[in-house]
């Protein structure tokens, strides 16, 4: 859990933004209140953020800034609906490097229309691609994962999920759970990877932000 968090000081050093900007974005609801996590440290109380989410969100804000006012941006970033309407062609996916060619070739077609992808479909491709390109998963496992996502995600209520990829004695399996989930495994199980839907869409939003600015 500790690795997933970043302190405010580290964040500012890493991204080069200032305190004023951070608070301003928070006021404009560009950064959700829940991401400000208070913890006590030896220097007093410090604020921490979920690392991957805040970094990609700040990246999104900085990149969108030129075309939009802060208020417009807040609407767009918090409005999931506008992203759900986004559809992307296969050509764009490859050009923008959203999903690798191999993943797209292999799984793209099963999503129906070959050339146009919806946001939801893209999330699944993106998830598969992330594990594949990290070299954590074989092609067969990728197929299993993709099938699982396609069939099972729609059954989860809130649409927010977490995925656990585990291996025990060489046998791999995927566990899909309603977020936020905490799972405990027996000693023989190795947690290869954990993905959350919120992380995925945040990163995907960054890659698709250009669609909304146009």
């Amino acid at each position: 859990m500790e690795d997933d968090l970043i302190s405010k000081k580290q964040l500012l050093d890493l991204t080069g933004i200032s305190y004023g900007q951070l608070y301003r974005w928070k006021r404009k609801q560009l950064i959700p209140e829940e991401w400000f996590i208070r913890k006590s440290t030896f220097t007093g109380q410090e604020t921490f953020f979920p690392k991957e989410m805040i970094l990609s969100r700040i990246h999104n804000i900085v990149n969108m800034k030129e075309g939009l006012s802060l208020d417009e941006m807040a609407d767009k970033l918090s409005d999931k609906a506008s992203f759900e309407k986004v559809s992307v062609t296969a050509k764009e996916i490859l050009e923008r490097n959203i999903v690798s060619t191999i993943t797209l070739r292999k799984f793209g077609k099963s999503l129906g229309d070959e050339s146009i992808y919806t946001f939801e479909g893209l999330v699944h491709l993106f998830a598969v691609d992330r594990l594949l390109s990290a070299g954590e998963m074989s092609m067969e496992e990728a197929e299993l994962l993709f099938r699982t996502l396609e069939e099972k995600v729609s059954r989860l209520e809130s649409g927010s999920w977490e995925l656990f990829f585990v291996r025990k004695m060489g046998v791999s399996s995927f566990i899909l759970a309603q977020a936020p989930a905490e799972l405990w495994f027996d000693e023989g199980v190795r947690l290869v990877s954990k993905m959350t839907y919120a992380d995925l869409i945040e990163q995907l939003k960054g890659k698709l932000a250009y669609k909304l600015v146009e």
Binding site: K9, L12, D13, S18, Y19, G20, Q21, L22, Y23, R24, K26, R27, T43, G44, Q45
Partner: protein, 228 residues
């Protein structure tokens, strides 16, 4: 807002009213409103109790006004005492008197004279404040913060010795911002890009990125340059 004409709520003398969506709300005297109010223009004079939320594009509060719920506004002018039970959010607030907020306070511009107390986070674009008695916030996060003490006369000096709450100073746990210029401030930590510490400050720790000035009469525990 809707095209059709919205009703007005007018209270004169000792009376009460119900919440709802109004065009103008004018309250003079002593009044009480049950239920949330949404108004284009809100004016309160005298002693008012609103036991729910208040949202107004333009608001003016004179006298003693109490809002038990959240308060949202475009511009607000306060002359007198305003109490807010939950959060306080708006574009600009001009204060001449006292504001006390139990929850968070989010403003773009906060200027004025008098005192304030914020239970949670005071987050603002620009704060330019002259303290006549205590200013208090749990945390402060701003783009620019300028705090000055009003030259106080003999009587207030004498009272402030007896009642600490009347001592004109700013108290906060942490203050973070791009530009911070304070005097008579007590805080655990100040973090900023450009920090100017004036007389009468008692600070545990100051972290700065670019520039710092410390008045010889200020008590500062530790100064540290961070970043780079």
């Amino acid at each position: 807002m809707d095209k059709h004409q919205l009703p007005d709520l007018i209270i004169n003398g000792v009376s009460g009213g119900a919440g709802g969506t109004y065009n103008n709300v004018n309250m003079d005297g002593v009044g009480k409103v049950v239920g949330p109010i949404v108004a284009r223009m809100f004016k309160g004079n005298g002693h008012m109790n609103l036991n729910d939320d208040l949202a107004a594009e333009e608001a003016e509060c004179n006298g003693v006004i109490k809002v038990m719920g959240n308060m949202r506004f475009g511009t607000l002018k306060v002359g007198g005492v305003l109490n807010v039970g939950k959060s306080f959010r708006g574009e600009s607030c001009t204060l001449n008197g006292m504001v006390s907020v139990k929850g968070d306070c989010e403003l773009e511009d906060f200027v004025g004279e008098g005192s304030f107390s914020v239970g949670g986070l005071l987050s603002a674009g620009h704060v330019d404040f002259k303290l006549q008695s205590q200013g208090k916030a749990n945390e402060i996060g701003v783009e620019s913060l300028v705090i000055r003490q009003v030259n106080n006369g003999f009587w207030s000096k004498m009272f402030s010795g007896i009642i600490p709450k009347l001592r004109p100073e700013l108290c906060a746990r942490t203050i973070e911002g791009d530009f911070i210029d304070v005097e008579y401030t007590t805080a655990d930590i100040i973090r900023g890009n450009i920090v100017i510490i004036g007389p009468g400050c008692t600070l545990g720790r100051v972290e700065y990125r670019e520039q710092i000035t410390v008045h010889p009469e200020a008590k500062v525990g530790k100064v540290e340059k961070v970043g780079e």
